[in-house]
Symmetry: C2
């Protein structure tokens, strides 16, 4: 990115602060008033910032500024699922407990949800209370960690899909692997998605 002059940096910082505090971008005149200059001068600064790629301007629209990298594309509202019920559409409003704004760079894929883990079968990688990010997909690679719906209960396990059937394994050695014949697996087990991230508060 091109270098900014001191004044341009100050203007960018003001726009960022304004957005952080107000929830919407400032008008050209608000920028001008803050620096005690005329609207035209402020517009010049904003144009320079646009030209140098630090923000985007929607011509003609009031408050039509978006901060590059901090715009709407930077954050995604990811739903946290409460209980997961079989048969229901996964992201139904009823199942969504809350949403969390996460950086898009963490959200790979477009159908993603969060799940709070309760058991310790995946210890030490995933512990009870952890929040896992799950990308919705019907199949996973051999050995991938996935959220699996067994009959009516969602669990996090490593999945080994083989000719002889399906094996669900926890990393915790005290957890006995679950084995399903192909017929059983087709009837009882449904892979909801792959675990692509873990967040743990300490």
């Amino acid at each position: 990115m091109k270098t900014l002059t001191a004044k341009q940096q100050a203007v960018l910082a003001f726009v960022e602060d304004f957005f952080q505090q107000q929830g919407y971008p400032p008008t050209v005149r608000e920028v001008a008033a803050h620096f005690g200059i005329q609207p035209r001068a402020a517009a010049d600064h904003l144009s320079a910032l646009k030209r140098k790629g630090y923000l985007h301007r929607e011509p003609g629209r009031s408050r039509g500024l978006t901060l590059v990298g901090r715009g709407p594309e930077a954050v995604v509202e990811v739903p946290i699922l409460g209980q997961i019920a079989a048969g229901q559409p996964l992201l139904a409003t009823q199942q969504v407990e809350d949403t969390l704004p996460l950086p898009r760079s963490w959200v790979r894929g477009d159908e993603v949800f969060l799940l709070r883990v309760s058991g310790d079968s995946m210890a030490p990688l995933i512990l009870p209370g952890d929040l896992v990010m799950v990308r919705v997909q019907p199949r996973v690679d051999r050995g991938d960690i996935a959220v699996v719906l067994i009959y009516d209960e969602a669990t996090v396990k490593r999945v080994y899909e083989e000719a002889g059937g399906l094996v669900l394994k926890g990393d915790n050695p005290s957890f006995t692997p679950l084995r399903f014949s192909p017929a059983e697996a087709a009837e009882l087990v449904q892979i909801l998605g792959k675990v692509v991230g873990v967040y743990r508060a300490l």
Copy 2:
């Protein structure tokens, strides 16, 4: 929260979508145009949503809407530190590699930074490549995981501050604990902050 009518829900959903896509809230007229109604009718809906506590309106300001719970207070830009140099102010612009928008609910305390972990001394709880969230504080409780600056290198360790000196311990048993006399500790070791969260992409 009070219940919304179907139309009010639709308006709220539109405002949310608009904000997500554009990066700033819609004007009253943009809401009106979307639903094919007059500005006054749209303003009525927005007033109802304000009265019921779903959004905040700044009277007289264009696009003066803020979504409650999704407003500026929901997301915090947390700096990711590249290398940490001793003596320098911790959050100096030079040391900030990038920032990441994280939900405020994850950010406890106001001076917080992120650090990418390189060693495996804290395995299996913290692995190389993990992103740890650190709350800046000069002292931590006995046994807390902290980011510690030893001479000029930042590491993540459990800290045991005792009368006999300071012990820095990794969870990984193959890592030999570091012991410092009180004099050595005062000279060489600086606690930067407590690790309050871990994010791992899988």
